[in-house]
Amino acid sequence: MMGRSHLLVAGAGYLTLAAAAPNVLRHAPPAQLAAGAVCAAGASLLPDLDCPGSTIARALGPLSELLARVVSRLAGGHRAGTHSLLAWLATSVALALALDAAHGPAVALVVCTLACALMLDVITGARATVCALLALGASVALVAGVGHADQWLPDAVLIGYGTHLLCDLVTVEGVPLLWPLSPSATSWH
């Protein structure tokens, strides 16, 4: 699936969950829902960090490209390790722990900047530097203005990452959900 589809499904999925089961998102106020939807949409591109030519790999220039190459090598190529339940849970738990630590606001700022930069890149197609600068401004507003990032950001990343796996699950190629136990892909096509 393309980045645009992942973004839209993740944003809509986050808001659908907020409407259908408000308890899951702790009855988040409108500002937190807006911030969460943006970050869920951006986080939906995280699993594609295993593909050096993907949108997320190009988002922050040479830095993200290098990171993508490292992740691709560690995960075993595209649609391997990063598209598994293990990676989904590990990313979500690691982020929740990092946000609870002393440097939580800095982590929130980095994650929000990446999410906003990805959204801007996919929607506008502008240069990576322009997207990154605009995203930094938006992230400062989100983290400082909305506040309580340790509450809504882990939920947003969990939902965004999860919708990516769900979307790729219905494609012909499928995803290796049980990697590394079973490297074969599951497909609901």
């Binding site: 839209l8 939807a37 012909v172």
Partner: protein, 50 residues
């Protein structure tokens, strides 16, 4: 003949996936816009006005 059939099948699958993805995009966009209005914009506007 088999090669032509295979190519036709691949083209068909590609077209199906192409349109399926467009439908997913359209549906998710419409649903997201509706929910953003009802869950975010309207409550925020009401809180500002009232």
């Amino acid at each position: 003949m088999a090669a032509v059939a295979k190519r036709y099948k691949l083209a068909l699958i590609g077209a199906t996936d192409h349109w399926r993805e467009h439908l997913v995009c359209l549906g998710a966009g419409a649903l997201g816009a509706y929910l953003a209005l009802t869950l975010i914009a309207v409550p925020a506007l009401a809180a500002t006005v009232l």
